[in-house]
């Protein structure tokens, strides 16, 4: 369990990025963090593994203040994949790149090989295993970076903008992998602007603006709140828009629906009644 207690942070002590963020993240949750550019999302996730330390407030991992741990120690529990894959790829084959991360965290070479192979397969990278990451396309490099951390199956997985440059199929593969890891009890935290990705895969959403949490709760209620949508510079999900149009005709249909299954039920119910 991770608890953030009133975390404040300012870059160079001047540019305030977080002003009093408090969050509780239980084991085995799937959480999306959303917000405008500059809302403090990346700053927040960097607090989790100690890359940035709070200027005020505390970050507590399993009851112990993370200031006692180094980043490398925290990396064993919390795997963070940053936005730009080019900042971490440095070896001359995709496979080596993934094995490197595993070795850093002390996996035996046999175990590492098995994990590497299954991750490559799951992310559709198996045919690229021997290629140099530098010759791959942007989306492929992104997946290699993801794979290098996903393979280690950390207890808490934090992904900063993982869906950028991925086509629908790759997004679905990624979502499937995240769900599988989650079923094994891993916590998954994702920072993203991709509202459909969040609705389909993350039960809980934390919305941020100006370095504070403006909403935190079930995704369906957070993302059907116009105020949140507005302040996070999002457009309302298609399904919510559809639900609203139906609500205009049939007021007994809730206008705050985000899931396809719920909307289907409502439509069927209305049609039966008619």
């Amino acid at each position: 369990m991770i608890i953030l207690e009133n975390v404040h942070f300012a870059y160079d002590g001047i540019y305030t990025a977080l002003q009093g963020v408090s969050l509780q993240i239980d084991d085995g949750e799937r959480i999306a963090i959303m917000g405008t550019n500059g809302a403090g999302k990346t700053t927040l996730v960097k607090q989790l593994n100690g890359l940035l330390r709070p200027h005020r407030g505390r970050v507590i991992l399993d009851g112990i203040d993370t200031k006692r741990y180094s980043v490398a120690e925290l990396a064993r529990h919390i795997g963070l994949v940053m936005q730009n894959p080019d900042h971490q790829l440095f070896l001359d084959s995709v496979e080596k790149e993934i094995l490197f991360g595993l070795k850093q965290l002390g996996f035996s070479s046999e175990d590492a090989r098995i994990r590497c192979e299954s991750t490559l397969l799951n992310l559709g990278l198996d045919s690229l295993a021997d290629r140099s990451p530098f010759t791959l396309s942007g989306g492929e490099r992104k997946r290699v970076a993801l794979a290098s951390v996903l393979a280690t199956e950390p207890r808490v997985l934090v992904l900063d903008e993982p869906t950028i440059g991925q086509d629908a199929k790759q997004k679905e593969n990624l979502a499937q992998m995240l769900r599988d890891l989650n079923e094994k009890g891993r916590t998954v935290i994702v920072v993203t602007h991709d509202i459909e990705f969040v609705i389909e895969n993350f039960p809980r959403t934390v919305a941020m603006a100006n370095g504070t949490v403006i909403a935190d709760g079930p995704t369906s209620s957070v993302l059907s709140n116009d105020d949140v949508i507005e302040r996070c510079s999002l457009t309302a999900p298609q399904l919510t828009l559809a639900a609203r149009s139906i609500h205009a005709i049939h007021p007994d249909v809730s206008e705050r629906l985000t899931l396809l299954s719920n909307l289907e039920e409502e439509i069927v119910r209305v049609l039966r009644g008619a």
């Binding site: 960097k46 593994n49 890359l51 180094s70 980043v71 490398a72 990396a75 064993r76 795997g79 963070l80 994949v81 940053m82 730009n84 080019d86 900042h87 971490q88 790829l89 440095f90 490197f100 991360g101 850093q104 965290l105 530098f134 290098s148 951390v149």
Partner: protein
């Protein structure tokens, strides 16, 4: 890396900032030559005593002091290793002079780089008949120094997040730890260079053979004064070096 700050332009207004970049370049070169002519403690101290008020005039003394603090480890290294290994008759004296020379050289050029905007520099080069493309490349290079530093920090963060311990282990391991930093840094820089080149071309860079410029630099009276004084100092110091035996003073041990 904080010592690099002293080579980074700061947007300010001061007498030194308002000088023509060519005059400042001349001044910097002269003071660098003078620092290289002497390897005795006293003359080098005199050079520094002259340069520091100039830094004050450029409103950059605090920045300079901060950079020197960042550089202090290297300076101590130079001092210690030269004292231990130098074949000079008075090694401590010699290594103090070397350290002072490094500081004087850095200060000479920092006065230039702190106060000359990259655009001014390229304009100065163009008016000194350097081809526009080269001048542009140079000012771009200056412009990207801080970006590169930022990138390096981001890469360090990304690798630390993977469990790479940059500041642990024996010296050999630490050197090997640089690889995960330096390789992405080079790749990212090459990628950026290529994409900048492409975007420049698609915006018509080099489309017209004759360029015109919004601002042209002009030498004013104060710039001539700077050039004249610098020239005088240069001639004087060369004369002193060649014909006047310096009073030999060294540390009494």
């Amino acid at each position: 890396m904080s010592f690099l700050e002293v080579f980074q332009y700061t947007r300010q207004d001061s007498i030194i900032h308002r000088l023509d970049p060519r005059a400042k370049l001349f001044m910097a070169i002269v003071s660098a030559i003078v620092s290289l002519i002497f390897l005795e403690i006293l003359p080098l101290l005199i050079i520094l005593i002259i340069l520091i008020p100039l830094l004050v005039a450029a409103k950059s003394l605090r920045r300079w002091l901060r950079s020197m603090k960042g550089l202090s480890i290297l300076l101590v290294f130079i001092l210690v290793f030269n004292t231990l290994l130098s074949p000079a008759p008075n090694p401590l004296n010699h290594s103090i002079a070397l350290t002072l020379r490094l500081i004087a050289l850095m200060t000479s050029f920092s006065l230039f780089f702190l106060t000359v905007h990259p655009d001014e520099l390229s304009q100065a080069l163009i008016q000194m008949r350097v081809r526009f493309e080269f001048a542009f490349a140079m000012s771009m290079a200056m412009r990207y120094v801080p970006t590169l530093a930022q990138e390096a920090y981001a890469i360090m963060d990304a690798q630390k997040a993977r469990g790479v311990e940059l500041d642990k282990g024996n010296p050999l391991k630490r050197i090997r730890n640089i690889v995960p930093i330096i390789v992405p840094l080079i790749i990212v820089s090459i990628r950026r260079a290529l994409s900048i080149a492409e975007s420049m071309e698609s915006r018509g860079f080099g489309a017209s053979p004759h360029r015109t410029y919004m601002n042209r630099l002009s030498f004013k009276k104060k710039d001539w004064v700077v050039v004249f004084i610098s020239l005088l100092v240069l001639v004087l110091t060369i004369y002193i070096r060649l014909y006047i035996p310096l009073y030999v003073w060294s540390l009494p041990f």
